[in-house]
Symmetry: C2
Subunit: 418 residues, 2 copies
């Protein structure tokens, strides 16, 4: 075994052992730890910004852009954000121990289905140092031990946050290895962890498509994957055109670089003449490039021609594809074929259309008369989210505390035999 | 593309298309099909037994044992069992469309989490022809299109059942390809399907460990896996000895070849003197070979010495390993380390012991004062089961209709934007 193999195996084993203790920790122990960690982050912000400076100094060497460097920077305001986020997780209800089903059997056996942690989460992320605290909080609150693997660009910041978080674990009677950060930037470490399905119950990669594809390909345990969001807004025949325009513009423009932004819109042929000129004008005023079919271009002269590939593209930019459809069936068909089953919206005043669309569009979120941007853990009321799943298995859409859990059957009898 | 590749791809694509229609079929359509299929099986039993004879004639060529040949045989009684099983699935509540969560947001957005089918199930089984009908019924009732791959030994019987089931689908307005049976015994077909995660949402292998390992290794989509059941009965210090003995004997002897049979028992040191001689006597009278540690052998002279490996062995036979433990902590520790997280029982009159055991033993079913044999979809009240999952992800323990589903978020607004 290489040193790296020995090290990663030790980390994984420690996590497994810690997960057993954490699974039976009380909500109050977990919450007290979260609140104490928030206090420590506030008290020792100087220490954190000092360590952050080491990462900032190395940023040019890693070739980070100015925007990336800005996201890496820990300011007092951002540290306050990290601390409050920990306190918010403390306020969420404890998912563990919830009875999610029960069955009183004819023979007197009382069967309950009780929510339990998954066990050990391997969390890989590329982004900002606040994710270190967020992920640790969500995993521990849901009773899971976590192995955190952050990007090398934030290594010192992550280590500093990690030290603060973990030094208070044992004070609360929680296992020391409930939260572990991979203390090496060696890329091979990830590959070793991905083979350890004996110790790790789920891997969650948060980052670009290539990271997720690599992880999904190599992992021997389940992976919560987050791929493209090719989200649609469909404007139905019977609709409030003003509302439709506002929803479309918000879905496309409110934030372009995120998965739940609209990348395509479809308009019922019966209202195309009326809607497209208005919508086109506002989108173009907002700097959006429109790529449409022939009918769209006839009504929005500034639109350019869309290829078939455009309708399958996640632009993540001020661009949108557009198409006129003959009816709602054609819209649903197009969305199921060209979309990515992420978030799709219908704007309509017709109840039957709303019912048909929500039933037949096979996406993690199907929304009537509101922006695509609402498909989000916070907006849907899940509390904080650890990621968004584009899978149908286990968890679909925003993943909060409950999505980090499994269940077991607990049955009480008084001597039943078969 | 080879002919086999073309064929398997066509089957998978047909399943995907069918799954969209099936997802929005009404409960009454699905139930009418189930009842009609049951009627056809009764009416045309002659046709089924004729086809079954072809399999029976080939059985010696496949080297089947007498017991295997017996299991393969379709009698009138067994056909009646198949028909009634279809009718029982019709009586189960439709899982699709159930609202499993909801959140009324401060901005007026009404968010619901609604149960939907997974999509396409690839079901691989080695066993008796009745599984063809059972699996088709459970998948279709839960709105999933299914690709059935039965064992070559039952090929003609499976084909005959499949023909009866599918000829009535379209009469009920259900898609023709909702149920498909792989019409070749070529072993390579399985490998092709396992690569088609684009069309198949989950694979369920039902059979021996080598089949499940092969499928889990090759599959590109999620797999519901069913591995070993190394199940324990722990007899606590405070206990009803008579009840403990009955539960132990039932857990071991009622049926030995199944996953929820006990393979090991642990006795608290404080009652070992009293309990082991009684339990040993009854087990031995039932033909059970006991493999114990030194303390067990001192009290049950006919017991033979257990190796460490014995405590990790799924005998599936009239054998059981036994061990005296110092306290409940030692019992829980042993079960979590040596068991397979399947089904574990405590026999106790002490409430705290029951609470600790059910909280700390990490198994799909943890049972107080009843036989291990109750960890079963029917016994737990799930209705029929398609399999038992030894995973923690998505589904754990017995898998009924609900475990064949996913969910989507459906949100209604009146113009909300962010």
């Amino acid at each position: 075994m290489t040193d790296l193999e020995t090290y990663t195996k030790k980390v994984a084993q420690q996590a497994k052992l810690a997960s057993r203790k954490l699974a039976v920790a009380t909500g109050e122990q977990k919450n007290a730890w979260l609140r104490l960690s928030a206090a420590r982050i506030r008290e020792r912000s100087g220490e954190l910004t000092e360590e952050n400076k080491k990462d900032l100094a190395k940023a040019p060497e890693y070739g980070l852009s100015d925007a990336q460097i800005d996201r890496l920077r820990l300011t007092d305001e951002r540290l306050e954000g990290i601390a409050s986020a920990l306190e918010e997780v403390a306020l969420l209800p404890d998912p563990i121990g919830e009875v999610i089903g029960s069955n009183s059997r004819p023979n007197g056996l009382m069967v309950t289905q009780v929510r339990v942690p998954l066990g050990v989460v391997f969390f890989i992320y590329e982004s900002r140092p606040n994710v270190t605290a967020d992920a640790a909080a969500l995993c521990a609150k849901s009773g899971n031990a976590v192995i955190l693997r952050g990007g090398k660009e934030a290594f010192h910041s992550n280590m500093a946050i990690y030290r603060l978080l973990t030094e208070t674990l044992e004070e609360q009677g929680l296992p020391k290895h409930a939260v572990q950060l991979v203390e090496t930037i060696d890329r091979d470490a990830v590959g070793h962890f991905l083979k350890m399905d004996e110790y790790i119950d789920v891997t969650i990669p948060r980052g670009g498509k290539s990271l997720i594809e690599r992880v999904a390909g190599e992992a021997t345990m389940p992976v919560i994957k987050h791929f493209d969001g090719i989200c649609h807004v469909y404007i139905d025949q019977n609709t409030d055109l003003e509302m439709a325009k506002d929803i479309l513009v918000n879905s496309k423009c409110q934030r372009t670089g995120v998965c739940n932004t609209a990348e395509s819109f479809l308009v019922h042929a019966a209202i195309a003449d009326e809607f497209l000129p208005i919508a086109g004008k506002t989108l173009i005023e907002n700097g959006v490039e429109i790529r449409g079919d022939e009918k769209v271009r006839a009504l929005i002269p500034l639109a350019i021609a869309a290829t078939d590939e455009d309708y399958r593209t996640e632009y993540l930019a001020l661009k949108i594809s557009a198409k006129v459809v003959d009816d709602i069936d054609a819209a649903i068909h197009h969305i199921n074929d060209y979309g990515s089953h992420h978030t799709d919206v219908i704007v309509t005043t017709n109840l039957n259309a709303a019912r048909q669309f929500t039933a037949e569009v096979d996406s993690s979120a199907v929304i009537v008369n509101a922006s695509t941007r609402f498909n989000d853990g916070g907006e849907f009321g899940l509390g904080a989210e650890i990621g968004i799943s584009t899978d149908k298995f286990h968890a679909r859409g925003p993943c909060g505390l409950k999505e980090l859990t499994s269940y077991k059957y607990i049955a009480y009898g008084d001597g039943q035999i078969r």
